[in-house]
């Protein structure tokens, strides 16, 4: 059975290879091949899942070792896979949602002449992401980690002719690279500490390492997670990443890749468990980000950017949960999966809307669309209810658990985190309601696009609708299924689990959650439901304006890194040319000058030559005598 694992990665990889090297002759069939191979991967995933369910909790993990990747004195890196419950969860999410989005893209990218390549990139991404979650050591994980980074780079910049897209892609890659520093340093520390970086040995031995070392590793891993999962302070790329085609935003920047950070932390549970300081930092990052993202989400008029902000904040929840330790890991993953469903659904919905509105993204130019694209409305609505945590829908279960766990952390810490998560929930409800209202309700604020032809909103083709429906189902049912099918028990062998007891009983927490959710919705309704939405954004409060600019993060980065860096490089180029090179050229020049001066002595007069001879002899004699004297 375990020999199938390689195929999970292999199938989409093959697809990528075929599609990218195949050339124009595959333009017709390319998208089908891509979708098929993604589906194959999903099918294998299901097969393995079924097989896994058949086994006892302890012997569920499967291992497959292909070959030694880097065999060097004292340094062994294998191409080897580990499929346990955690990985399996991801495999299903990735291949499942992945396949749906492949299907969706068939319709969405229909009119793009580079569709074949788009599917090639998508397959590449799926392969890399699966490699990431299937790796059995950190170096191979790093392989996948960079792989998804590359795929994301290619897909964000898919419309390369748009400078904004190209820039966004570059930015995403670079910010991720900063995170990667963390991952590679973490691996280095592991290697020097444990002599290996395979999950098994490292995690087992993690207890024996010194506190400081573990904290260092933890923080470095967190840095990596921040990069990949767009957490403060490395969050700046996610908003711009929305330049990519919407399916990409749905798959990579909502459902799967951005959650890799959460996977990394949960996977390294043992290390973090042994390094409370690192855990604390993790929770802080999570908390900050969930507020940050939420606030940004409130201010954006670009529907995708609003969703991006929400993604940021939802992942904040997951990171926070992961930071809570055994009481949170499971729920982090659970929220991750549910979020995968509803956020992907929301994005696909947004895409569908844009599809109908001549790719208009400004919500202030939508309005009253519910009648024109009913299916989109419904699916989007369900996703909306899920994300705000409407009781019974998936988001409710997962998020509520996280909030409980946050309180259960105990002490001041617990209170603060709990409060933050609650506040986050309220804001979530607020901005999602805002999105909902601005898009589907109220009067039409449509405007003709650049070419002057007014939008004719219509329902999207079936290939796009079906995935939306399926995802909607997932976002409705997912939570309940997990809750009652025993997601906790499923993951517990891998991540460990202990039940957290919030100081105020679980019921109370739930009550609060619902309450704040209602408040949030209410506020939003008062602001956007009752009175008409201005077609041009009002100036708004200072906070609003800051939030529109992503809370000035880019301005900061630009001022510090871009401008500073430019000056640095410019001055270095100057130094290189004038100083380093100048010294050498200077020496050469001075020798030349000396030569020119000495040359003057050769003045052509025999008598002066005679003088030099005479003088030379005199010196010679003097020197000889002197030698004898001393």
């Amino acid at each position: 059975m375990e020999n199938l694992i390689a195929l999970l990665v292999g199938a989409p990889l093959l697809g990528a290879a075929v599609l990218l090297c195949g050339g124009r002759r595959l333009d017709r069939t390319g998208h089908w091949i891509g979708t098929l191979l993604a589906a194959v991967s999903f099918a294998i995933g299901l097969a393995l899942f079924a097989d896994m369910l058949g086994k006892g909790a302890e012997e569920r993990a499967l291992y497959q070792r292909l070959f030694t990747w880097i065999p060097v004195e004292g340094f062994q890196a294998d191409i080897a896979f580990q499929l346990d419950q955690l990985s399996m969860t991801f495999v299903l999410l990735i291949s499942g949602v992945g396949t749906l989005i492949h299907v969706y893209s068939i319709g969405y990218m229909e009119h793009d002449e580079r569709r074949r390549r788009f599917f090639g990139y998508l397959n590449l991404f799926v392969a890399a992401m699966l490699l990431l979650v299937l790796a059995d050591n950190y170096l191979l994980l790093y392989f996948g980690w960079e792989g998804v980074g590359l795929a994301s780079y290619l897909l964000i910049g898919f419309w390369q002719h748009k400078p904004s897209a190209a820039t966004a892609a570059k930015k995403a890659f670079l910010v991720n690279r900063v995170g990667d520093i963390g991952l590679s340093i973490a691996i280095m520390i592991m290697f020097t500490t444990f002599g290996t970086f395979a999950f098994g040995p490292v995690l087992e031995a993690s207890g024996q390492a010194s506190q400081g070392t573990l904290t260092a590793i933890g923080l470095m891993l967190l840095l990596a997670a921040c990069g990949k999962s767009a957490q403060v302070p490395l969050q700046s790329w996610l908003g711009d990443a929305m330049e990519g085609p919407t399916p990409v935003s749905a798959l990579i920047h909502a459902a799967t890749m951005v959650t890799a950070g959460v996977y990394l932390i949960v996977r390294s549970a043992d290390i973090f468990n042994a390094a409370p300081d690192a855990q604390l930092v993790v929770t802080i990052v999570g908390a900050v980000t969930l507020l940050f993202g939420a606030i940004v989400g409130c201010a954006k008029d670009d529907i995708k950017k609003a969703l991006a902000g929400s993604t940021m904040s939802q992942i904040g929840y997951m990171i926070l949960a992961a930071g809570l330790g055994p009481i949170g890991y499971v729920f982090a993953i659970m929220h991750l999966v549910t979020h995968g469903f509803f956020k992907a659904g929301l994005f696909l919905g947004a895409g569908s809307v844009m599809h109908g509105m001549n790719d208009e993204v400004d919500m202030r130019k939508y309005g009253g669309l519910r009648t024109y694209m009913p299916v989109t409305f419904v699916t989007f609505g369900l996703g909306y209810l899920a994300i705000i945590g409407f009781p019974g829908l998936s988001g409710f279960f997962s998020k509520d658990k996280i909030i409980e766990a946050a309180f259960a952390k105990g002490g001041a810490e617990g209170w603060i985190l709990g409060a933050v998560t609650l506040l986050g929930a309220a804001i979530t409800a607020y901005y999602m309601t805002r999105v909902m209202l601005m898009t589907f309700f109220g009067e039409k604020r449509w405007q003709p696009d650049a070419d002057g032809n007014p939008p004719h909103p219509h329902e999207s083709p079936r290939s796009m609708v079906i995935p939306m429906v399926l995802l909607a189902v997932g976002s409705v049912a997912g939570g309940a299924v997990f809750e009652f099918a025993g997601f906790v028990e499923w993951l517990e062998p891998v991540t460990g689990y202990e039940h957290g007891h919030p100081p105020i009983g679980a019921a109370a927490v739930t009550a609060c959650t619902v309450a704040v959710m209602v408040i949030g919705v209410g506020l939003a309704y008062l602001q956007y439901g009752r009175r008409p939405v201005p077609a041009v954004a009002p100036r708004g409060s200072l906070l609003t304006r800051a939030a529109r600019r992503d809370l000035l993060q880019d301005d900061f980065n630009h001022a510090v890194f871009v401008t500073g860096g430019t000056h640095l490089t410019r001055s270095l180029v100057y130094v290189d040319h004038s100083l380093v090179d100048g010294v050498v050229n200077g020496t050469a020049a001075s020798v030349g000058g000396l030569s020119g001066r000495l040359r003057k002595l050769q003045n052509g007069y025999a008598r002066s030559y005679a003088v030099s001879m005479f003088g030379g002899t005199a010196v010679l004699i003097a020197a000889t005598l002197l030698m004898r004297a001393v």
């Binding site: 990747w69 060097v72 020097t192």
Partner: protein, 528 residues
């Protein structure tokens, strides 16, 4: 002392074939230009086959130096014609023999005579003959186990390189022809003088070595030092080490002795630039590993801190300056400087991972730079400009070219799955194991690498299509034949470097014992 001595002088033949080929190519009459090209290509392929045989005949488990040959040469100077390869040599010979055919293929039309030039002037024959001559000398220098023999080749290979740089400049040059010629000969002279000065200082050290050791046989001297029969005063050893290292650091090149490289690579044609950075410069790093560490272990350890610092400066500085370049080829040159920083760092980290990494790095950097530089060359030859600003939106008109260029770039920023990642990561791990701070600083290099690569790609390949670019044709079959195999090799070695590491590991083990260094042991013995 010597390992499996072969009846058949395989190493000599491997070097002799291109040398003879060079002479034959040069002898081809002016009219038969194409014949000369084919001859050169065939010869280089034959060399590749021979290199393959060497690779195959080399037994990783066997003696340190294999396929050895040893003949008396200049008794008076204590010089013998002594050849032998260890794993590192084998790997680099393979690299050289692998790249040259592509260099020749890529430079197919670079040296076609202009209509104006006189009938007796035979640039094409000269161009390919010189390339083959360089190949011969480089290969032999990787084989030499006699310091003097190595020195002679180290110096002699400057001459053909010099003519390649100065004689066959990049036709795509900003500015007038005179200006171009002036800059080209400036670059050539700069190249030659830098390396000549380095070489001459090394000459002083070589003579000094003779005075203290009495012969030049690497194995004998190292052996004598090991068993204590040859004592060298500490100060003397340090001076000699510095003499050698200076020459290699110029060649490598190490900051602040690097400024000749951008000029040389900028002015030379892309294939020649590849020859410089991918092949000839490797002799420098190779020599550090074999001669500096092999002959002067103590001095090497003494100098390590300073060298590590310089290497770090090279890494960061090279990358930053690369970001600021306006000329594609100069950008690649500075990128190479940064990479050479990694190689030297790996060598002097004195850990198995570091040195294996450094050796792999030499090979991988050679191939990846070749890929990137040759594609860049194709691009430049199309548009006739080296300035980044003159491009934009190329991927729209020439997707394959852009794609290969991107892969080359990704290799340069050492993305996992492509060969350079393996070596770079090994270097980093190896360095961190001994000098954590240095390791961390070096790691920042991976961001900077991404920066200059992606900036280059974005500015040239993406965005709206520039008017002058609109007409550019995509890669031609000949050019594909150059790029595709290189990329294939890169990806293969990125996923399965074992064939290489198998030959390199034993050599590294020997070097480590030369410098009497043990890898730092992990704090916690993980439950394996």
């Amino acid at each position: 002392m010597f390992g499996t001595s072969t009846a058949f002088p395989l190493l000599t033949v491997t070097a002799a074939v291109p040398a003879v080929g060079a002479i034959l190519t040069a002898a081809v009459p002016a009219a038969r230009r194409t014949a000369a090209k084919w001859l050169a290509l065939l010869v280089s392929l034959a060399t590749l086959v021979l290199a393959g045989i060497v690779f195959a005949r080399f037994e990783p488990g066997g003696e340190r130096y294999q396929l050895t040959e040893s003949y008396a040469w200049i008794k008076d100077f204590g010089v013998r014609y002594e050849l032998g390869v260890d794993g590192i040599g084998v790997a680099l010979i393979a690299l050289t023999a692998l790249l040259v055919p592509f260099v020749i293929l890529a430079g197919w039309h670079d040296a076609d005579p202009l209509e104006t030039s006189s009938k007796r002037w035979r640039p094409t024959q000269g161009f390919f003959a010189l390339i083959l001559m360089v190949e011969a000398m480089v290969i032999l220098s990787f084989e030499a186990t006699d310091v003097f023999l190595f020195y002679i080749l180290f110096e002699a290979m400057l001459i053909p390189m010099y003519f390649l740089i100065g004689g066959f400049g990049d036709r795509a040059h900003a500015g007038s022809d005179e200006n171009a010629a002036a800059q080209r000969s400036y670059a050539a002279v700069k190249f030659l003088l830098y390396n000549l000065v380095g070489g001459l200082i090394m000459l002083a050290a070589v003579i000094g070595l003779y005075v203290v050791a009495g012969n030049f046989s690497l194995t004998e001297i190292a052996g004598a030092r090991a068993n204590g029969s040859l004592e060298i005063a500490t100060s003397t050893e340090r001076w000699l080490f510095l003499g050698f290292f200076f020459a290699f650091a110029v060649k490598a090149p190490l900051w602040p002795l690097h400024t000749w490289l951008p000029n040389a690579m900028g002015e030379a044609t892309a294939p020649v630039a590849v020859l410089i950075t991918a092949v000839v410069d490797k002799v420098g790093t190779f020599a550090m590993l074999r001669f500096c560490l092999g002959l002067f272990p103590e001095a090497s350890k003494w100098a390590t801190p300073a060298i590590v610092v310089l290497a770090l400066i090279s890494i960061v500085y090279g990358a930053l300056v690369a970001v600021g370049q306006r000329d594609i080829k100069r950008l690649v040159a500075y990128a190479s400087i940064s990479h050479f920083g990694f190689i030297i760092l790996g060598i002097f980290a004195m850990t198995s991972q570091g040195q294996s990494g450094a050796t792999l790095y030499m090979v991988n950097h050679g191939i990846s730079t070749a890929a990137l530089m040759l594609v860049a060359g194709f691009l430049i030859s199309r548009r006739g400009s080296r300035l980044i600003a003159d491009y934009g939106g190329v991927q729209k008109v020439a997707p394959v070219l852009a794609g290969t260029f991107l892969i080359g770039g990704l290799a340069t920023l050492s993305l996992p799955g492509i060969a350079p990642f393996v070596s770079e990561f090994l270097v980093l791990v190896g360095t961190y194991a001994r000098y954590p701070v240095a390791g961390v600083i070096a790691t920042t290099g991976i961001v900077l690498a991404a920066l200059y690569t992606l900036v280059l790609y974005q500015r040239t390949m993406t965005g709206p299509v520039k008017e002058e670019v609109r007409k550019l044709p995509d890669l031609r079959p000949r050019e594909l034949a150059v790029v595709v195999p290189l990329i294939a090799v890169l990806i293969f070695l990125g996923v399965f470097p074992k064939p290489l590491t198998d030959v390199v590991n034993p050599a590294v083990r020997h070097t480590m014992s030369d410098v009497q260094q043990k890898d730092p042991q992990p704090e916690v013995e993980a439950a394996k």
